[in-house]
Symmetry: C2
């Protein structure tokens, strides 16, 4: 089991945990990344999977993730236009966080 | 690097990622757990370390973590009374999530 001591970063105001938290700390962001880990998704697929998320929140989170270089957006010039989202290589580096959350969550009663 | 496929849980509405997210998904909760991973802390130590957190928010997050059995609270009958918080065994299982976040955050530009 990976330990915090395996990471020798200094925990001050520029703490890497805080930096990661700023990006993936929100409820919906984590679940969007979880969904994209299984591959490219259309906006409608994400909206269906994330029960309770508003269209505005989903669009805002996807824009933030794209802006952070963690998700790539592809728009296909079909009628109507088709939009797909996928994790970039940098975005795929979040996988160990999501896997560790899955492991922790599976042990919660 | 741990992969989501290492976890064979089904990702439906009772998804373990979502369950973990419900508890440790908030900004301050992650940072409180980060601080408690280095050992027992007094309320005042947490308040100082978490720049910007309101006393009410800190108390509410600590109550939630205690209610979830992830943090234990000890009140010493001194004058004034001294209160300490520490992770329970169940709480320490969050460490791999925080370590994975630290590793991801350290690579963010």
């Amino acid at each position: 089991m990976k330990k915090i001591s395996d990471f020798n970063g200094v925990c001050d105001t520029d703490c890497p945990v805080a930096r990661a938290n700023d990006i993936i700390g929100g409820k919906w962001t984590t679940l969007i990344i979880r969904d994209l880990l299984s591959g490219k998704k259309r906006y409608s697929e994400l909206a269906r999977s994330l029960a309770g998320i508003s269209p505005r929140m989903l669009a805002a989170r996807l824009d933030m993730l794209c802006g952070a270089g963690l998700v790539a957006k592809t728009v296909y010039p079909t009628v109507p236009p088709k939009t797909e989202y996928e994790l970039t290589d940098a975005g795929k580096r979040i996988e160990p966080v999501i896997a560790a959350m899955a492991e922790f969550g599976s042990k919660l009663r």
